[in-house]
Amino acid sequence: MSDAPPDLKRSIWRRNFTFLAFCLIASSAVIGSLWSTKPLPAPSSFDADDYEELDFQKVVGEIDFQFDRHWATNKINPVQQADSLLLARRLSLGLTGTVPSFEEIKALEETKEEDRVQWWLSRLFEDRRYSDYLAERLARAYVGVENGPFLVFRRRRMVDWISEEIQQNQPYDKIAKALIASEGTWTTQPQANFITATIDQNEDKGPDEIKLAARLTRAFLGVRIDCVQCHDDMFGDRWKQKDFHQLAAFFGEAEVSFSGVRDNEKNMYEYRYRRTPEKQKVLPIVPFSNELLPEEGKLRERLATWVTHPLNRPFSRTIVNRIWALMFNQPLVPTIDSIPLEGPYPPAMEVLVDDLIAHRFDLQRLIRVIASTKAFQLDSKSADENYPITREHEEHWASYPLTRLRPEQVVGGLIQATSLRTINAEAHIIPKLQRFFSQGEFLKRYGDFGADEFGEQAGTIPQRLLMMNGKLVREKTENNIFLNATARIGALAPTDRKAVEAIYLCVLTRRPTPEEYQAFVPAIEGLKGDERHVAIGDICWALLNSTEFAWNH
């Protein structure tokens, strides 16, 4: 180029300079946008008036009244109300298995304080993460987590089908009915996998009536009649062995062929009871509320109609208890799938059941009602340190219960907490892919609770090791401005105070306490480059390893 004419040299330099300037402008725009995020669109389904209506307020008021009475009877004072950011965190963890993103928190804070809970719920209901997450939780109750029989069981398809139904807010009784009475192949009629999941290919038998009856009673009726499959109940006289097998007999006609699941009237369930020499044919009889059973139809259709009948209240109680468990991380009736048939029931249960039935098994309404109750909105700590929370508070729902996050909530929270942007269906492919791959590996090592999700689980040493020294936490707190919140915050936060605040919002969905500001702002003050990043990363590490991050509160 040294021999080129001066005009050409100038032209080349001009071109290079223009290109360089363009790159600088473009990269600063990209990096700038990483911090100052676009305002999120308001959820289209949100209308504040819906929740002001008398009908909605009356139900919430009745539940609050029942709890007030319960607390007065037990001489316990409920704690103060939690702030809206904490409520949003609980809802996100319970309904999507992750925490609110930085940009979502900013959007939430721009809405009116009194609208925030319902606004947030509208946003979650429009987010595919909600239906996917709820579908997986329900599927665990329906078919467990096992891979199941080869080829004839497609768990993923079934979960996707449930998710689609939930996304459309289909009535819950319709979903349950479709699963119980499903026909067709496991690929084209994914709900049929509820039946095919029980096939024992080794025994070369069709659907297993015993497994189906066990799943059905627990998942849809909240009773454990399967405990008496081998003998009458030794701990009470409620259930007899016959109750279980007569219920199982409703699946006796089901068979599986190349055309999928179907019913064949020639099939009949047989069982050898204790102390009887041979198998005998078992007649299909429901264990209670026989008057609700239709007289005509295929056995499974009759069963499905009976199970989901509006007057068959155990069905409604079961889903109320499960949704409550998702939102509080623990069920209203302590054992999720064992709800007494005749009561007594804790406050809220029967009101929620009435409302669910009156609103045609609308799950979104059920969630909205629960989220509006005083019990859900209570803090998990006492404002008066001299009178801290006690076990009695949690036992009586006089404070929001402190519960250990489930593994999928920990990894979901971890991945979201270390990104400023929301990682949902609309997110860029790179963070989505990263979430997909990281999640599986992390869960494998952290431990998955399987189908017994709401049982009390202890924390383990491998879990703490994974959080302290594991690859995912390390990667998520390292200096990567395109993928990690800590790096972006370090580089782009307008002030040190804002940087500390942003880390807290990302990880713990709250602002630091005065003591925390006082400790952490000076810790990063004046630091540049790597030193600054390391200091911010260390704050993030501490937040991720805290009890506050690992527990729902």
């Binding site: 467990g144 096992e146 029989p149 024992d200 290919q201 080794n202 025994e203 066990a214 627990r218 454990r224 399967d226 405990c227 701990f235 054992t335 064992s338 700590k381 006492s382 404002a383 008066d384 340190e385 801290p388 929370i389 076990r391 402190l402 090592r445 431990g447 609770f449 399987g450 189908a451 017994d452 049982g455 009390e456 689980q457 202890a458 924390g459 383990t460 040493i461 491998p462 879990q463 703490r464 090791l465 994974l466 302290m468 020294n469 594991g470 390390r474 306490t513 003591e515 925390e516 400790a519 952490f520 260390d538 590490w541 501490a542 390893n545 805290s546 009890t547 506050e548 690992a550 527990w551």
Partner: protein, 430 residues
Amino acid sequence: MKTHEHIGCGSSDHFSRRTLLKAAGVSSLSFLTPLGDLLAVKGEKEKDRQKSVIVLWLAGGPSQVETFDPHPGKPVAFGSSAIKTAVKDIQIGSGLPQTAELMNDLSIIRSVTSKEGDHERATYNMKTGYRPNPSIVHASMGSIITHELPDPSVEIPTHVSILPNQWPARGGYLGAEYDAFQVGDPKGPVSDVKLQVEPERDQRRSKNLALVERAFARGRYQDLDKEKTLHRVTMGKARRMMNSDQLKAFDVSSAPASELNPFGDTPFGRGCFAALRLVESGVRCVEVTLNGWDTHTNNHEQQGERIKVLDPALSSLIKALKVRGLYDDTVVVCGGEFGRTPILNAVDGRDHWPHGFSIALGGGGIKGGRVIGATDPAGIKEEPEDKVKVEDVHCTILTALGINPEKEVMTGVGRPMMFSEGFEIEGLLG
């Protein structure tokens, strides 16, 4: 009742100066480095040695005919041969010459039966002694042993799974803290136990964490950690493990070649060597998995490849346990979730067979040189002679370890559960 009893960590004669100094370095952070605990128990005397179990888990279902139940020249053999062993009248598969020499130390049950022919369900069945049931997750044998035989001098997890496949042993109703601690090929250090930052930075992180914990604890219980979360207690145990010299037992890379080589230069061989060292350190149950036994095609060739890996590892493990005086206190069990069909299929494979398959076991008070049960050499009769149920194997091993198999634990679902519902196998215990 979920038991919240924890695998104690505390005193150790392995307690090194290095560990003490490390602990002292951050002693202001008492919950992270429970120095007080460590010092308090330093002077404790070593307890009587308790028993342990090593499970060599042959995942996929080994063929009984090519391993411990050969029928040379009979219809089920399809060309498989056998060799004599140190015990007159007992033959095993010809691919196991080194194990054959140790037949006085091992017994074989050739008539194990179950009703589970699916890998996942059968694995559950074999590891817990119970068939899968939607109402409860049963406790694996390893978790029961860990629960029943705690050892406060052990600073590392006492239930370990080396090279686990997708279904390692679980704590089940005993709780996740009894799940097997999973590690890969022990040719290097265990993952996640190495501090990722310099000590100074680690100390800063710990101070940051202490501040966040203080803020969160306000207004929550008198002692949040003790009364509710045990978060910091568990973290303290993790820290103790990170600083423990016992961790070296997981890493065989620095072991003398003369000790390691006989086990075979394979991940499984190294796993067996690590299992030896872990048991020596006081670990209660180690499961070492060897995959690849699901031979639906080319059975003989594929089983043969696996057997080549198994033979040196199994035999060297028994020899080493004996040399170190540990065999009388360590039950060694070798088997998979089921066996394989007596006949070959169209592609020279053997399919799943839960109706009469073999496991080998010895040590820990189990007599050697015995054979229990027999299968039909013609492969016609499905049911073996002297049938042994899976739960009977569990009952026998628990009894050998001094654990009452009939002991009941109240589970979280309000249902009492016996450790085993089986019966002791006659003639195996001394």
